[in-house]
């Protein structure tokens, strides 16, 4: 059962990611990204990270993607035009990312020889209780610093997006 679920949702994630890159219209890309995020939430659940799976659905595919879709609608963003300039990235981009992928895969297969096999339910330390306990004891300072970061982000977003009054 683990194999079926992993294969299905990994394929959904990869197809969604490819579709995100290939779609011409930003709103189609946004919907592809939502499918990737939902598939990743299921994979988090398979890895025993219940809280992170829920947060992924609520924060990413909920809040962040709604923000993206709002901005796409607000700017009335149409289909992307063909680029007139080539640039170095157009020629070197694909080979370099392929090299990155091959290198990462070889490092993973070599260094993770003692890796466990993933079985659903084998790791039970990812519930809200365990995550919350760690978050409010050992990671209390980063957690509090995060609140300042979010405050700055709110202020920055309001300052940047407001209309100039003149």
């Amino acid at each position: 059962m683990d194999v079926i679920l992993f294969t299905f949702f990994a394929l959904v994630a990869i197809v969604g990611a490819v579709s995100l890159v290939l779609q011409k219209h930003p709103i189609s890309s946004a919907l592809s990204l939502v499918s990737v995020m939902v598939a990743l939430a299921v994979l988090f659940l398979l890895l025993g990270a219940e809280f992170i799976a829920a947060a992924q659905l609520v924060v990413y595919s909920g809040a962040i993607m709604v923000l993206f879709v709002f901005v796409i609608m607000l700017l009335n963003a149409g289909a992307e035009r063909e680029s007139r300039k080539g640039g170095l990235a157009q020629f070197l981009g694909l080979p370099l990312t392929a090299i990155l992928l091959v290198f990462a895969s070889s490092v993973i297969t070599q260094s993770m020889s003692n890796a466990k096999a993933v079985k659903f339910g084998a790791f039970a330390g990812g519930g809200p209780r365990e995550v919350g306990w760690e978050l409010f004891t050992r990671y209390l300072l980063p957690f509090e610093v995060t609140s300042i970061l979010i405050l700055i982000a709110i202020a920055g977003a309001v300052v940047l997006a407001r209309k100039e009054i003149d």
Binding site: A17, R84, L135, G156
Partner: protein
């Protein structure tokens, strides 16, 4: 349904490396999109895809070591991504208001 398939089929497990390689693939696709696309919003979404791929790595390592720390790191990545999305989309709004375009090759004042 159960008797149609051999019992090993339901007890087999996924190797951990499969999750890590899936994460690498998603990161590479996101990097490709970042390099090839010209729409600033799509590029932004590719960055979110790469952040998600790294999150999958964190959670996978959390499973490997049996500790919750990796999940907390990925939680912080999510929070920072949310803050980044708010500020970044406000910057995109401002750019669009000033330049009336979303194509990145038309926003090249800093070039040369």
């Amino acid at each position: 349904m159960t008797h149609l398939l051999p019992p090993e089929f339901f007890t087999t497990t996924v190797p951990l490396n499969a999750y890590l390689i899936l994460s690498a693939i998603l990161f590479a696709i996101g990097a490709c999109g970042f390099l090839f696309r010209k729409n600033i919003i799509t590029i932004y979404m590719c960055i979110e895809l790469m952040l998600n791929a790294v999150n999958l790595s964190f959670v996978t390592f959390s499973y490997q070591f049996g500790k919750v720390d990796g999940q907390i790191y990925s939680f912080f990545v999510m929070v920072v991504a949310a803050a980044e999305a708010a500020v970044g989309l406000a910057i995109i709004l401002t750019i669009f208001r000033n330049r009336n375009t979303l194509q990145i090759d038309e926003i090249d004042t800093l070039k040369n």
